[in-house]
Symmetry: D3
Subunit: 242 residues, 6 copies
């Protein structure tokens, strides 16, 4: 099967890191096609960036060569609903993937993300997914996304400090790492804290493989029905539903 | 004061209708500037259209001539969070405006919208705003948005039929009309059913005027903090935060 | 239009302060009629006082000279439901007014009120209005209501200290001032903390004006239906529904 | 022990009926003192009546001869919070009493009350008590309260019809009768439907006896702290806290 | 009437302590039959022990000599749902008993239990009962259950320390003691903290007496319907429904 | 990897059917070990049966030959919490597995189960998992579990009738089949209704494989900490934690 992993931002080093994680966990028969939009923000930190990442992301879906499933590799699950209208193959966000797995190994899970600006969007997702009651709290490490790409940053220490608080103050029993760019830290942090530390990228790839192998597809009834045929004007006309 | 009313779709007849409502209710000192993006879908029906309406909508905000407040005139409150990051003047969605007023004149309110495809997005908004518990139910009339613009459609009858069900089956005490294109029907339906029938366009204009006159602005702390300076690539680079 | 602003307690200096705020924000065509009951407690701090403020408050409504809207100027929204049964003009509580505006400029808002005895009543209101999930927490400053009327009290400092905690510990993005008697502090505190600091009195006046100008009235169906004709006995017989 | 049972309305035939139920279930050592205010509405149907029943009700508490516990015998739990501030003996509403017992014998319970005007107040109570999620629905029989006192009314049939719907459509597993005036119907309806049919009056008396015998008193900390010493003006000055 | 009080663990000294409390509060006409299963764990601390306490507990119910009501005297309300299917007399858990009483004397109550391992099970119960919103927090004292039976342990001090935090940090207005083994501490802690400190064992006995005297039985409709006749295999065949 | 699939009831034909589904979807490297307890009920329909299925189920876990993951193949997720304390490998219930996948392909999902007696237990699970808000309703087909094993029953028709209602009345966008014994019907029903029809058995197997391959284990911190060393008495002493 072919799984399209879309990094919704335009930073290729992050796409590479995500692809490495995805390939490391993919089953032998799974081909990981990792991509990123040609247009949009270099990182997604909050609602504004999020909005501008979606057209490029949907563009990648429309031009993709019949993937069997799609992973959206930004932790705020950018464009997830729109993507589900654009295709009938399963579409998995790495945020939801992490939350779902965490809720099956812990009574309460904590989330450690990048900037405080991103926290409300994650809290809104948790509420929509229904999993807010399972979340012990979303903590910001105040590490900008692109610092995770930078040698010598103190990102890991700051993330570890928030994990410590999540386990002790918030009574989390497991941790979900709240950014695709943290994918390479999961194992070491799990070792350090001796609780499940869950990476959304890896989680989403396995959920995608699972759904393909089970033949589970996105519902075409109700909110994810294919968009009606209509005119899109201006530079967005390429995205017009047919 | 100047209030920028953005119809997030690209159908100018709907912009005209919205502008007429907005001007009819505006205070004497308020200038209504009604606009629509040059690019994007001709109507917004569900998640997919919504995603593609946002860049054009934000473009209108960025190029606007210092409005004092902004009204987003699509009932799914398209792009509301992103818009609030793009400016510090108040930004009001017509969906939330209708819900807030309804919750102050009724214990429970019903919503009657266009297509069933749009219902989940409205339900998600209600949950996020916190007002889901006040909503007696969102009903779809199965009237496509653009039929509201068409002479001779049976739109009004179908909307009235759902209002009847909302009042009797769902025990709604007031009705919120779930589409900007229904703005001209509110008064007659209120007459017919003898309960408050609330139009979001008019409601949002008055909330915008109120907030301007009170000096209430969008918070710059937390989720609506201005986006960090970063590179936007491709055709979206015009939207890059500075 | 004429807006009846009722201070539900019997302290006239507070009525004056409330009236001053109301007139300062009222539109040029709005006449503010400020009043207070002749009977009842001198301040409202908790459930007990609240219960005894209602008859006088409803009396003011019944004897009023056809106002177009009514503002109830106590932050616990004393008697709001009963008042809505007593008239079909819009009735706005200053508590709800503050919460609604705050929820349109911030993902989460904090409330700073007077005594801890009052906190549960405010929390119950937030739950009923549906906005509890948007509230970052209600904090008591331990300033008695009438201290806000007293020269030389340290009220402002204690309120400011709680705002600081609300923004940092509770992650509030905006503040709602939790007492009509704080109406004169809003601007200075907003200046100090650089986040929206919302005063319910001013907010309610603008909502009332808005609803009058839109023709939105209280629903007569369901919970706010006019009370049935029946006998009231004893000193309360003046309030008997006809 | 002495239990003060207050019928918050001023209809003495209803007080008699309530007293009969209370005495029938009281333990041998319990003295039931049944009373009603001299002032206030003859029946309580909705928010307006409720507000005017409270002062008389609190008056009965203040003039009572040291009861060991108090039962408020109106199903909307009129004045419950204020009453708890007025005394440190336990105060039990018949609504909450019915809900609590029902939730210990059924996964979901239905409520059948009098007029639809009263439904929102009951729903608000259920939300505040936390038991809304356990309630399968509140149904109005459209039987006015005083019809329950009238020979030859079809009240019982209409109540039975709603119980039938509650069990079948709403999947209720037990029924709570939603008016003190229904107290004499419980046994026969239980017989008819073969599910628990719970009467709040009897339930509250037993809860009151239980709490007295356990020495459980109303908390004096937080929301139920005794009201501060302050002036009450006008005809309400008799209720002034000392 | 005869009330069967089952200590679901197999430690007879705890059964004795529970029986002493039950008898101390029982009405003169109530016979307390205290028992414990012959098989199962010596203490119940968390989900695992809980699961293994149920068969013995149900065995006690099946072999009991027609009790009029049953009290399950473990604070996690072990086996409550299964027990309700096994009999039509009322079955009361000491956890729910404590929560229900606390919610009638306080706006918010705190719970202080034994080990942190038990906290999620209590939180799940609170959610199911609907009372989670009334709970200010469940705190673990890190006192193992059997330490409560041991002379010279510092259990009381550690419990008192958590009560202090619950009242100040969590804003609890009353405390529920979260273990049957704490039943002898309630009075002294209430004296110390001057807030209601509620013991579930005593509470459940009075609720059981109340329900018996009111004739309230467990519903046989829906989730508590008697189990269908079917084969149970192996050592559990003694529990087979007939 | 080796996945232990436990049918918690003692009907071997159902174990065979479950094993067939599990093997059909298992990855090539996965060995499915299907088993059932020697003791316990022949089917699980409601709380009572559930309680008696747990010891046998845990027994299977304790005697298993180091599985890499465990699937509990009863739709009420029998014994899930206890099982997670008994082992540190991932333990997946088929109920939760179905719910999690459904919530990733639909805004709202419906559940169609066997007897109405089982509905409350499923609703409680949905509440605990946090996914109740995503569920459009749990419907009972009134097909007893063992009828699903019987040739010539009308089980499929009755299940299909409830699916129809779930899609139309409840606005479900996908269906979760609410019994392990329905595992062979999923494909045909999906064909018939053209919406995702999700089988929990297959779903759980893929989640288990995913978690093993990602190294995600059950948290040992908090509620799923291994049970403390203590004595278990009587016939249950074999289950004593060491």
């Amino acid at each position: 099967m072919r799984i399209l992993v879309i990094n919704p931002n335009t930073t290729s080093s992050m796409t590479d890191k995500i692809a490495a994680t995805a390939r490391a966990v993919a089953a032998s028969g799974s081909e990981i096609v990792a991509t990123q939009p040609a247009m949009g923000p270099v990182s997604i930190e909050g609602y504004y960036d999020e909005a501008f990442a979606v057209p490029g992301l949907i563009g990648e879906i429309r031009s993709a060569d019949s993937p069997d499933a799609i992973v959206l590799a930004c932790f705020d699950d950018t464009g997830l609903d729109a993507a589900r209208c654009a295709t009938d193959v399963p579409v998995i966000g790495i945020g939801e993937a992490g939350y779902h797995f965490a809720s099956m190994v812990a009574n309460r899970f904590g989330v450690v993300t990048t900037l405080s600006r991103s926290v409300p969007a994650l809290e809104h997702n948790l509420m929509r997914y229904g999993l807010a009651a399972r979340c012990a709290g979303v903590r910001a490490s105040d590490v900008p996304v692109l610092d995770l790409e930078r040698e010598g940053s103190d990102a890991r220490d700051r993330i570890a400090a928030e994990i410590e608080l999540s386990l002790t103050l918030d009574r989390a029993e497991a941790i979900v790492l709240g950014c695709a760019g943290m994918t390479d830290l999961a194992r070491a942090l799990e070792e350090q804290f001796q609780v499940p530390v869950i990476d959304g990228v890896a989680s989403a790839v396995k959920l995608a493989e699972s759904m393909v192998s089970l033949g589970i597809k996105t519902s075409r009834r109700g909110g994810y029905a294919p968009p009606g045929r209509k005119t899109y004007r201006g530079i967005l006309q390429d995205y017009q539903p047919q």
